[in-house]
């Protein structure tokens, strides 16, 4: 995002709509007219989410979105949910994941689906940190979701290495999505906690499973017995999609 310094009156109202908490904005004085102050966006830190522009908060219409080229376009693809990813054909930065699982059979018995959403909530993440986490869990033999925008940026899905051209790009969030055999959960959680200490951002973790035949949720016991956090709320696919996947 950019600000037309000729139009900006320096009111600072757009900072309230900055998903990076406004810390990426500063004010400068016009050297030719010292009475005039305008806001400037730190382009290195801006994630191109477009929330400020869409809010319509700028009465001067000073905010504008310049054309973005590779690799900067990656910021918009991951940060602005109105952008439809060409690969997933879904608006937003994620995938269908569990939402259509009774039809796609993406998550099978014996496996958990997991996602580590880098930069969420509201902090943002550099792809160098996304790569660090992806590489740490890749070593455990996880299967990255093929149809996921982060996986599409990997140059090697066995190692989790990401295209070096995007490592200096910052996004509002990026979801590392994978399948893991159920028995590997203890090792995965150890790895996740270790790598979490080595990055300069936050990430939100989640876990997905088909219900067990007896109606229980297979992963609950592991987290509850170890006193690990697991949310009391969440998503449930209620199985109304057709045609049903063969496993059903």
């Amino acid at each position: 995002m950019k600000i037309d310094t000729g139009k900006c009156v320096g009111c600072g109202k757009c900072a309230s709509y900055c998903t990076m908490r406004g810390s990426i904005m500063s004010f400068e004085r016009n050297p030719r007219n010292p009475a005039k102050v305008y806001a400037v966006i730190d382009e290195q830190e801006c994630v191109e989410c477009c929330v400020c522009l869409r809010s319509g908060v700028c009465r001067q219409e000073a905010l504008y979105q310049p054309d973005l080229s590779w690799p900067r376009i990656v910021r918009k693809n991951f940060s602005d949910p109105l952008k439809i990813h060409p690969e997933t054909r879904i608006p937003g930065r994620g995938t269908e994941e569990m939402k259509t699982n009774e039809v796609t059979g993406r998550y099978r018995s014996g496996f958990y689906g997991m996602a580590l959403e880098m930069g969420r909530p509201g902090v943002g993440a550099w792809f160098r940190d996304v790569e660090k986490v992806a590489m740490a869990i890749a070593s455990l033999g996880v299967t990255f979701e093929e149809n996921n925008p982060v996986t599409k940026l990997m140059t090697d899905k066995r190692t989790g290495r990401i295209n070096p051209e995007v490592l200096k790009e910052k996004v509002l969030s990026a979801i590392i999505e994978f399948l893991i055999p159920q028995e590997k959960i203890p090792l995965l959680m150890e790895t996740v906690e270790k790598i979490a200490r080595e990055i300069d951002t936050v990430f939100s973790g989640d876990i997905i499973s088909r219900m067990a035949k007896d109606g229980s949720i297979p992963y609950l016991k592991f987290f509850q017995e170890r006193g690990r956090f697991i949310s009391l709320n969440g998503k449930s696919n209620v199985g109304l999609g057709r045609p049903r996947h063969l496993e059903d």
Binding site: S16, Y17, C18, T19, R21, G22, V51, S55, P81, I84, T88, I90, P91, G92, R93, G94, T95, E96, E97, M98, T100, N101, E102, V103, Y107, G113, E117, R120, P121, G122, V123, L172, E193, A196, T201, V202, S204, G205, D206, I207, I208, S209, R210, M211, Y219, F229, I230, S231, L232, N233, G234, K235, S236, N237, V238, G239, L240, G241, R242, P243
Partner: protein
């Protein structure tokens, strides 16, 4: 995409927070899905959601019902937000009867949504839980602010906007309801819950002090 997951809160304030949504499975039941989604929206509106929207078009507070309806695509993701579980039970029962053939997801406190499914004669197929936040936690805003900002899973409701609304309420420029609606607008998909937001603001505002 986990846009309705990771909503932070406690049992009390999450008990008025339910989202029901649908999408097509690409390559499986995408064809003709737009018609079924129109049916889905019709059912949702019958139960008076506090918010609704399509990820492609926007939410009810920035787009008209007509615009949302007319712009439904087979790749749409249609959402509606409700505040009580008995309504969700009725909705699920009707969705089961209508048998649209599209996947339906319900987000809320798991025990409660389990009850809703049981009452509607449905069994959950797949579940998803949040495992919380990891990493450099010092970079996060306060928990009370997170409870308001995380209702938009795409992080379109900035922490600074929450603080600005708190300030505007304190200065008498907005009432609680108006501030809650202002927070609802940037959440494009229509999954932000303005009723819960108002309740949370009523608790948060007295706790924050601004000097002159």
């Amino acid at each position: 995409m986990t846009h309705t997951l990771h909503r932070r809160g406690d049992r009390e304030n999450l008990s008025c927070d339910y989202i029901v949504f649908t999408m097509s499975a690409k390559g499986f039941n995408e064809e003709g899905a737009e018609v079924k989604m129109g049916e889905f929206l019709k059912i949702m509106l019958k139960y008076h959601p506090v918010n609704f929207g399509d990820m492609i078009t926007g939410n009810r507070f920035v787009k008209s019902e007509e615009e949302i309806r007319q712009n439904i695509h087979s790749t749409s993701i249609m959402h509606a937000v409700f505040t009580d579980k008995s309504t969700v039970s009725k909705i699920l029962r009707e969705l089961k009867e209508k048998d649209l053939g599209l996947s339906v997801v319900v987000t809320g406190i798991h025990d409660n949504t389990e009850e809703c499914c049981r009452e509607a004669g449905l069994r959950k197929h797949t579940t998803e839980h949040s495992l919380g936040i990891f990493g450099s936690l010092k970079r996060l805003p306060e928990e009370a602010i997170l409870q308001l900002s995380t209702m938009c899973g795409h992080a379109m409701v900035p922490a600074n906007l929450v603080l600005r609304m708190v300030g505007e309420i304190k200065r008498g420029q907005k009432n609680f309801k108006e501030a809650a609606l202002e927070l609802t607008k940037p959440c494009h998909c229509g999954i932000y819950n303005p009723v819960r937001a108002e309740k949370l603001l009523r608790k948060l505002v007295p706790l924050l002090t601004y000097d002159s």
